[in-house]
Amino acid sequence: MDLNARAPAGPIENRWSDHRFQSKLVNPANRRKYHVIVVGSGLAGGAAAATFGEQGFNVSCFCYQDSPRRAHSIAAQGGINAAKNYQNDGDSTYRLFYDTVKGGDFRARESNVYRLAELSVNIIDQCVAQGVPFAREYSGLLANRSFGGAQVARTFYARGQTGQQLLLGAYQALERQIDAGTVKMYPRTEMLDLIVIDGRARGIVTRDLVTGKVSAHVADVVVLCSGGYGNVFYLSTNAKGCNTTATWRSHRRGALFANPCYTQIHPTCIPQSGDYQSKLTLMSESLRNDGRVWVPKNVADCSKDPASIPESERDYYLERLYPSFGNLVPRDIASRRAKDMCDEGRGVGPDVAGVRRGVYLDFGDAIKRLGRAVVAERYDNLFQMYERITGENPYDVPMRMYPAIHYTMGGLWVDYDLQSTIPGLFVGGEANFSDHGANRLGASALMQGLADGYFILPVTVSNFLASQKAGAVDTSHPAVKQTVSEVEERINRLLSIKGKRTPDSFHRELGALVWDQCGMARTEAGLKTALQRIPALREEFWSNLSVPGTGEELNQSLERAGRVADFLEFSELMCRDALHREESAGGHFREEYQTDDGEAKRNDDDFSYVAAWEYTGDLSSPKLNREPLTFEYVHPSQRSYK
């Protein structure tokens, strides 16, 4: 397949404005004739649906939650980056672009990343005007903090609830359009397939999660903003409902899946406490601004009360190994080092299956230096959350942290317009692969979701629609009926197996397998093991699954079963991608490819490309397509945070 990114040429700072000018417009009087489907109501989907509505398009927006306000963007705590340079500390659009390309370990497309940095400032303007209560200085002007490896303070934040406040802004804009009649909202409705007619995306098939009714919705364009696939690992910081069904089903219909092995592990999550665990809770990375990470120097001290371990017996390993960045090294490095400490036997906290998986994040010094009140102002809601979950008070006892899957950089392949390889299928937010390369920097996910939703998709989707005839197909088309019947057949299959194991039991087994073999560190042998075991697990799933009840009712087991079925297919592609990428880059760490001091070792000669996988009908032999990456502005170098 010819992968044309359609990235514009010319000076990088003019590319988006030139492209925007060259994009075609739909006559305002004709816009309501075009039906736009948006799947997902998070920052990307909610912002896009609201903006399409404002432009006058006829929009349908779908979410599986009971209200669009609950999309998982809401859980983001730390902040959103923007190159405003309000702190006069040397920030600029170019610096944010540079940091993002470098942070992504030179595996992202320069044109996209520059545009993201450029739009970052508009996002802050937009959100402030909506009434998002960002933190402010006593002057009344906006406050910033430094975040996750950045040497400038460019992160805007709203206590520890930035995602919530940004999402409520988008949600309110969306509700305004629902009231105006430009957007029809379908809550508790899950997309189960993509309708493709003559190579064009023409709609989706959904299941009403309350009545079970399967329906077809046709449209002139479909926009997926359905989030990432982190829940393939079962235990992750994602919401329980997050899934890959919309993206995976679209992949099976012809959309290429890019870089599925790029998954991000967040270094500061509350460690697992038992095998009933249903999810892991992230503690904002902003904690690393003032908290110091350490483990005992001696294995014998690991079970002791941390207060009894003197300064001289503590190993502040990030400060030791990375003197210039210290506790603020990027997420992948902080995560891997925590794993190393625990693998060495120097982890702390409860012993789960023979290993203590935790490191201390200590606020003792911060409280001494800044006072308890300042620490409370910055982190109190996080401390309270930690105490509710663990029963320990971080003002008195160091927090315990361990990495967990948090974000997925891979996703459906898109060109500069965010259009997938299926014409008429656009993909925004975490669901696409576009901007973060092999590793996402902190406070960049909210930025990307909103850049896609408010500013990019409204331009590129309009451009696409301008050359299309409105309402070209209706639900009587045979391909629509065929897709509906395939969805119904699959639901019936899930219900009729009548085996012994629940969807969750398969999901836990799959999650543990991919976490061990395709998690923080990967090896050829481990990945091959996973690739052997996944098809076997999938086979057992389809012969021994138990889903009580029927399809014509609210049936949460059935919902889960469908999502797990797709994770069981997707996981194989993720492992295959990880196996093929014989280098380490960002969140993809192959143990065979590391420098002498244990850092990720890229192989730019052979792997400076986007791996875009094509579904062939056989899950075990997808076809690899390569989009070469060229770097005109930021020249690849070994990342160094020492």
Partner: protein, 259 residues
């Protein structure tokens, strides 16, 4: 060290909105005190599923206390005994061996039961649709720092804006009033200059919609504030009343009629 406990659950089961409901007793055995309340229900559900019985349906998603999806009434108290906590953040260390626990859905006419512990809270979305926003088109915003806002005003607005829309306030209120929810949004935007131009219209329309959804009136019981997982102050209800009064005095003939 973790301890385990055995509990008896009385859970409201109701197959659909129109079906009659009833309490059903379940044993929850070997529950670890580190489990969250919803993880305890997960374990019960896994056992029910293994027996081919329909698991207990309940809403939940982020399990971090921020999405507002979860919420059940535990022994008569929305989100359970701890206060300042969503159901997903309630942990079993708040219970003890041998406890008998009653679990019900939110009870309010405006929140019909969908199934078991799942209710329909779309009335909240319609209250926001009535005016819970700043009418702003994407791209029309001025430079963010062109509008300084005193930190204290911004912080107070934030205190109102933390509402997660879970509905515990309605479930806790003897009148099933949505006053705290509605007041939180009216107050958030009324305290910020961005919300000023539509301030009066917003208050009128949102209150009219709240009434149209058949939520009860506020008679200052204060149960909402006690149940709110985000600790939103009942003071905002007083603010809402002032906003509404001011709007009606200024333009009494424009009291919005909403379906």
């Amino acid at each position: 060290m973790s301890r385990t406990m055995n509990l008896v659950l009385n859970v409201w089961r109701q197959k659909s909105a129109s079906a009659p409901g009833q309490f059903v007793r379940y044993d929850a055995k070997n529950v670890s005190d580190h489990m969250s309340f919803l993880e305890m229900l997960d374990v019960v559900n896994e056992e029910l599923s293994a027996k081919g019985e329909a698991p207990i349906a309940f809403d939940h998603d982020c399990r971090e206390g921020i999405c507002g999806a979860c919420g059940v009434v535990i022994d008569g108290v929305p989100h359970g005994p701890n206060g300042g906590t969503t159901t997903c953040q309630l942990h079993m260390r708040s219970f003890k061996d041998g406890d008998e626990v009653t679990i019900e859905p939110w009870r309010a006419g405006a929140f019909p039961v969908v199934r078991d512990l799942v209710v329909d809270r779309s009335a909240f979305d319609r209250i926001i649709q009535a005016g819970g926003y700043v009418s702003l088109r994407t791209g029309s915003a001025p430079e963010a720092n062109s509008l300084p806002i005193a930190k204290v005003a911004s912080d107070s607005a934030f205190d109102a804006a933390t509402c997660i829309g879970c509905g515990a306030c309605v479930a806790a209120c003897p009148n099933a009033s949505a006053a705290l929810f509605t007041a939180a949004k009216i107050s958030h935007l009324a305290m910020l200059p961005q919300g000023e131009p539509e301030r009066q219209d917003r208050a009128r329309k949102m209150v009219a919609q709240m009434d149209a959804e058949r939520f009860g009136h506020c008679t200052s019981h204060g149960e909402c504030e006690a149940a709110c997982p985000k600790g939103i102050s009942i003071g905002f209800i007083a603010k809402m009343n002032r906003e509404l009064l001011s709007a009606m005095v200024t333009a009494p003939n424009e009291v919005a009629e909403r379906k």
